[in-house]
């Protein structure tokens, strides 16, 4: 069985994926119009300026929407079933797709507070979400 997909960085995303390996999640902030964006691009999608700055996020966010996946798109995900696929709105105003780990799938709900965690995939860490730890 082949393993789960490992993201392959390109020149747009190399900085992002290197930061993930240091357990940091970076978004891009536009020095020209102030817009923040994720996923990484070579330019600001709003004003097309290339004057972008990397910004580390707080790591907190909320579940915008989610699904509990019961049928895997490929054999690599079969062992994880059922798993949660979600769109997470980070505090900084950007949205990302993640799984929600370390929780009962029945407890996941829209608006749920989550925080970032990182899952190892081969030599790469990928960002994931988990319920906010208590206390």
């Amino acid at each position: 069985m082949t393993g789960k997909p490992v993201p392959v960085a390109n020149p747009d995303s190399a900085v992002f994926w290197e930061a993930c390996n240091e357990k940091r999640f970076l978004i891009q902030s536009c020095n020209s119009c102030g817009e923040k964006q994720f996923y990484p691009r070579a330019l600001c999608k709003s004003c097309h300026s290339k004057d972008l700055e990397w910004q580390e996020v707080s790591g907190r966010g909320k579940v915008k929407t989610f699904t509990v996946v019961n049928h895997a798109p490929s054999p690599a995900f079969k062992a994880d079933l059922p798993y949660v696929l979600a769109l997470i709105d980070l505090e900084e105003g950007v949205r990302a797709m993640m799984n929600i780990l370390d929780c009962d799938v029945a407890d996941v709900h829209i608006g749920m507070d989550v925080e970032l965690t990182f899952e190892r995939r081969g030599k790469q860490y990928i960002p994931q979400a988990k319920p906010v730890s208590k206390g």
Binding site: K4, P5, V6, P7, V8, A9, N10, S13, W17, Y39, K64, T65, F66, T67, V68, V69, N70, H71, A72, P73, S74, A76, F77, D80, Y83, L85, A86, L87, R95, A96, M97, M98, N99, I110, R121, I126
Partner: protein, 383 residues
């Protein structure tokens, strides 16, 4: 500007077709549509193809023309997922309206059921997800649509029963159509009890995987010929595009279908209320519900109860997917969207035997590609 009309429409057998091939299905669909238009091979001066999973090629339309011995004046492949068929029709209309072509063959087909290993189509489709930022999370296409479904349920009170009723209606229509891939009766309970794929979508909330092909011929109204069948006018067309990846969709409530339909209605000089029959992309039950509300056929939150109440049935307020749609008639890649176009032509010609919407004059056809990403609408009318 010349007027664009559909002179020929045809679809092959649909379902499990052992021994079929991608190009063979293209050829059968093309021959059927050309004959339906009362034309010959030599009359075709434009060709539009889509894409294939089983015989993928960088230049599919050139492969097809070579296979058929065609040397058209215009030839291109269009690849926009489930919006492809409608976009091809829109493009064909532009080609004849501008005088560049007289008769454009628009052809689709794939044998993604028998021509791929089990699970192959699902795995290939999952690649519409972003390679770095979605694919690693195990996003399938049903899971991506399920994200929208969860949002709609939470935001607008859509229920699983309402979604299930969309699937049941499609099946009821398929049972009136001897060509349909799936004709076993189903109930709302059957849908709710079917295997969960990605909550809240069950397997019976999802489209089929089928073999099949479909084609139409778009002609200039003044191109002459015998025209054995009633011609259908392409009255209005429109597109709307907001994103590719669901993580980047600007809204989870409204999508490009809103803009696409508005443009098509404006160009046709009609409104949603004037439509007699609608053939709308229904890759999942939620797909159709979102489109019905986003386009404006129903107010926000009203499509679900209306579907449950029979609004989409033949004889209902908006007869929809009268052939059985992608969920029960069949889904063969780009041909899936083309089945909707072919069915609209049949309804407007009043030749939809056993499932005819009485005296239909005006049809709306809609295609959706990606995760509600790319949209194209057509308004078709009986000339």
């Amino acid at each position: 500007m010349k007027k664009a009309i559909i002179t020929g429409a045809y679809d092959t057998d649909v379902g499990e077709l052992p021994g079929s091939s991608c190009m063979g299905l293209h050829a059968d669909a093309a021959l059927g549509a050309i004959a339906d238009a009362g034309l010959n091979k030599s009359d075709i001066d434009g060709v539009l193809c889509a894409y294939s999973f089983t015989e993928p090629h960088l230049m599919l339309s050139s492969v097809f023309c070579e296979y058929m011995g065609l040397q058209p004046k215009f030839n291109a492949a269009i690849v926009v997922g489930g919006a492809t068929a409608c976009i091809m029709v829109m493009q064909a209309a532009s080609l004849v309206e501008s005088g560049q072509c007289r008769n454009v063959l628009v052809v689709t087909g794939d044998n993604r059921l028998t021509g791929m290993a089990k699970g192959g189509a699902v795995a290939t489709l999952a690649k519409v997800g972003h390679g770095q930022f979605e694919h690693p999370y195990g996003m399938s296409v049903p899971a991506a649509y399920a994200l929208v479904a969860t949002h709609y349920m939470n935001e607008y009170g859509v229920t699983s029963e309402q979604l299930a009723s969309i699937s049941v209606t499609a099946r009821e229509h398929a049972m009136m159509n001897s060509k349909a891939h799936r004709q076993t009766p189903i109930t709302i309970e059957d849908v709710l009890n079917s295997r969960m794929i990605a909550s809240p979508l069950h397997v019976l909330d999802c489209c089929l995987i089928s073999d099949g092909g479909a084609a139409i011929v778009v002609s200039a109204a003044d191109s002459g010929g015998d025209r054995p069948k009633t011609s259908i006018e392409i009255m209005g067309t429109g597109q709307g595009h907001t994103h590719e990846h669901i993580m980047a969709a600007p809204s989870l409530s409204d999508f490009g279908c809103k803009q696409a339909a508005r443009t098509a209605f404006e160009r046709a000089g009609v409104t949603a209320k004037d439509i007699d029959v609608a053939e709308i992309y229904d890759s999942f039950t939620i797909t159709l519900l979102v489109e019905l509300e986003s386009i404006g056929f129903f107010e926000r939150g009203e499509a679900g109860p209306a579907c449950l109440d029979g609004a989409l049935k033949i004889g209902g307020r908006l007869p929809c997917n009268t052939h059985g749609g992608l969920m029960s008639y069949g889904h063969s890649g780009a041909a899936g969207g083309m089945f909707h176009v072919v069915e609209a032509v049949r309804q407007l010609r009043h030749e939809a035997e056993g499932r005819q919407v009485e005296d239909s004059q005006l049809a709306f056809v809609h295609g959706d590609g990606g995760i509600l990403s790319a949209h194209c609408s057509l308004v078709l009318g009986r000339v």
